[in-house]
Symmetry: none
Subunit: 241 residues, 2 copies
């Protein structure tokens, strides 16, 4: 699960003060606080921006301003760029629900950035080259282009859903925390590489498929233990050979 303290929303040359304010509000709605603005084209400290931010005014005040996207990303370990354009990046697209999966292998203190482009023209190719992952929101072909603040809303909602729901359902079902799930995956990786099911040269290719499957399923504590039991059994079998 994403740690909101290690996550930044980056807006590149946002043109609307209302949008910047709205982004602050929805960031706070979902528990995020670090906003980075790359050469904003609108006054983010103007009254319309504060009006839209409502109770998230502190986020606007604390937003950092950067002269370029690369300077905004200097401390980030994984950068996800949003774009609705296909073509060059076609095969590498992820959807909002995949963010948890592509960031699952990071250390707890690694920093993630989610980058949004200009309202009218998105991110340039040079800016997309600074990203490791390309995210698109599935929309209808008749009007694929979303409002900036609404696109941010959808992404942050999807990213926070399991964390916020787990909190609300606390005590009902115990979801496995990310550290426990990650230990399970490390065990799985070692075991399945040792029996040459995973390719020693590239174990993560197939493992990524399992990460997606178990990511979609959202494992609880007991299920994680049962999976580790299976890897233990295979370890035992291997040692008998």
């Amino acid at each position: 699960m994403i740690n909101p303290d290690r996550f930044s929303v980056v807006l590149v040359e946002p043109q609307g003060a209302l949008n910047i304010g709205s982004v602050c509000r929805v960031m706070m709605n979902f528990g995020f606080s670090d906003l980075r603005l790359v050469t904003p084209q609108a006054d983010h400290l103007s009254k319309p921006a504060f009006d839209m931010a409502v109770k998230a005014k502190a986020l606007l005040h604390e937003a950092s301003i950067h002269p370029s996207l690369s300077s905004a990303l200097s401390d980030c370990h994984i950068v996800i760029g949003t774009t609705r354009r296909y073509g060059k990046y076609r095969d590498d697209f992820i959807y909002p629900e995949d963010i948890d999966t592509v960031t699952a292998h990071l250390d707890a203190d690694n920093h993630i950035a989610l980058v949004f482009g200009r309202e009218d023209s998105g991110l340039t190719t040079a800016e997309l080259d600074l990203c490791q992952q390309f995210l698109t929101i599935p929309t209808d072909d008749r009007l694929p282009s979303m409002n900036l603040a609404q696109a941010v809303s959808v992404c942050l909602y999807e990213l926070s859903k399991s964390r916020l729901l787990a909190k609300k359902n606390d005590g009902e079902k115990e979801l496995a925390d990310s550290e426990t799930v990650e230990r399970m995956f490390q065990h799985m990786r070692e075991t399945l590489t040792s029996i040459e099911y995973l390719d020693e040269q590239n174990p993560d290719h197939i493992l990524r498929t399992f990460r997606r499957i178990f990511g979609r399923a959202v494992l609880d504590e007991r299920e994680t233990r049962i999976l580790r039991g299976l890897w233990n059994r295979i370890d035992w079998l291997k040692n008998q050979m």
Copy 2:
């Protein structure tokens, strides 16, 4: 899956023209077209509304106006009211991802309404009494109240996700049919019983947990093959002993 032609977004006394226009844009982004306004407090045909609607101006023009919520709902078979208030309805809450489930039993021509209240005060108790389901978006306790158009965005995104992704992935990703999945489980059962991971006397106890995990994940063809590859590898290992 929701049929967008049998689905209406209902706004009760919306106060902001910008919000009404933004709702139109995001409805079109996700393939919806029927907007119903109950005594709007802002001019929904004003320039700011059209500016926010961008290419969804037709939705604004065609929005129907109603004197009361009950008249707006006269042809609806299931009504979902959004509210962040707890209390009376506490136990009946659903989340955006549950909408598909609560509407799954409807006939194809049944009509669904999703109702949003006023920006500042939401829906009244009398209005909520007209709803069969109560939906809330999981948000952070420090700022639970979302902007109206952003709340609509999140709900419509969640509702459309599987439909729009299925369309985009058409021909790329093929969900496994139940027979293929069942053959995978039979193989899994034999293999994991042979290595004494599953209890020969009662293999289905633990297998049932795996059925739940993979059931929640919804396996595609490729994933099913990858799982069978793992059972094959374990079969091979067992034969080396």
